[in-house]
């Protein structure tokens, strides 16, 4: 008896969370469901054509698998060809770009050498062509030094201006001056 008295008399059983909240709703559902079944039953009111399940077969299933199997290698091959073609085009463009740059460099240095040797005169046609070299030179050279090679006019402007304007200045100057001396410095 003493042992029984020692046992905790508190309720040790547990119930799911919200059990009593959902219980009344479920009971209500069951009652309504029973009423519906009493009136309508729960037998499906549908039928199928005779032997429908016996003769049922999935249409085109084999063809589809065959088609997929046939198409996949072709698709892979086509994708491969496209990638190779794109790579080839890319490489070709890069090579041409380099070739073009190399050709330009060679022509520029040939021009510069010819000018330095006084074999050709600089004019408005080849001054445009030498633009990158002139710009590079302007970048590296003090504007006042450049000014010495041109003339003494507008010296204040050329000392406080950007490369583009300096270049324009040289182009204008090219129209009626001999550049040999200037370009020999390039």
């Amino acid at each position: 008896m003493n042992n029984l008295n020692n046992i905790n008399k508190e309720n040790n059983f547990k119930i799911p969370e919200n059990y009593f909240d959902t219980f009344s709703q479920e009971l209500e559902t069951r009652i309504s469901e029973e009423n519906l079944k009493k009136r309508f039953g729960n037998k499906k009111p549908f039928t199928v054509p005779n032997n429908y399940f016996k003769i049922f077969s999935v249409k085109y299933k084999k063809n589809e698998r065959k088609i997929i199997k046939l198409i996949i290698p072709w698709l892979s091959a086509a994708a491969g060809i496209i990638i190779i073609f794109a790579l080839w085009q890319f490489l070709l463009t890069e090579v041409n770009k380099n070739k073009h740059t190399e050709t330009n460099d060679t022509l520029i240095s040939t021009h510069l050498n010819l000018i330095a040797d006084n074999q050709i005169q600089i004019n408005e046609n080849n001054i445009e062509y030498l633009e990158p070299e002139i710009n590079a030179y302007i970048d590296e050279t003090d504007a006042s030094q450049l000014y010495e090679y041109t003339n003494n006019e507008s010296s204040d402007d050329i000392l406080n201006t950007d490369n583009e304007t300096v270049y324009e200045y040289f182009i204008d100057y090219a129209d009626d001056n001999d550049y040999t001396e200037l370009l020999a410095e390039l």
Partner: protein, 182 residues
């Protein structure tokens, strides 16, 4: 072959990568159950047949990718449910384009359907079911006609059992309310 034995056999065939035989067994074992599941959603036999074809074609297409994380039965019913919903939505869109309500169209079609053998009372019940939102309709059909367990439904529909109970409760209440007028 009972359901558990066929599930095991299908699993075995899939593990052996014998997809053709696994597929044939799937069609044989599940065509009727899937058909009735689909038919209760789309109602008309010809539509159910179309959805069945689409379902099995999907099964065939993705069988190799089926990881067997879920039961084959659950996977099949999930595909069938999704295919049915897609089919209904496409039909709805077409009907809406021609200014017709799809549910009204279906209920009038049922009245003249040679594969609907219900009496007037059954027709009233079907019309009442048609007033439910799509998901509620599926839940009601699965519970009321097939007595599917909530846990099973939860795996197929990807909704918690608690939410499904609530959904069924509201469906039953709405139907009860609808049939009061008859």
């Amino acid at each position: 072959m009972n359901a558990a034995a066929s599930e095991n056999k299908i699993s075995e065939l899939l593990s052996e990568q014998n997809y053709s035989e696994a597929f044939n067994l799937i069609v044989e074992q599940y065509k009727e159950r899937l058909y009735w599941h689909i038919r209760k959603i789309v109602l008309i036999h010809e539509d159910a047949d179309d959805v069945m074809q689409n379902t099995f074609i999907k099964v065939w297409r993705y069988l190799e990718n089926f990881k067997q994380d879920s039961k084959i039965y659950t996977w099949l019913f999930r595909i069938a449910t999704n295919e049915s919903i897609t089919f209904i939505n496409n039909k709805k869109k077409k009907e809406e384009d021609s200014f017709q309500n799809y549910e009204n169209f279906l209920s009038s079609k049922l009245e003249s359907d040679e594969y609907f053998e219900g009496d007037t009372a059954q027709l009233i019940l079907q019309k009442a079911i048609l007033t439910l939102p799509e998901k509620q309709r599926i839940v009601f059909n699965m519970k009321y006609f097939d007595e599917t367990k909530y846990q099973e439904m939860s795996e197929i529909l990807g909704t918690s059992a608690g939410a499904l109970k609530s959904s069924y409760h509201y469906a039953v209440k709405k139907i009860e309310e609808y049939i009061k007028q008859y």
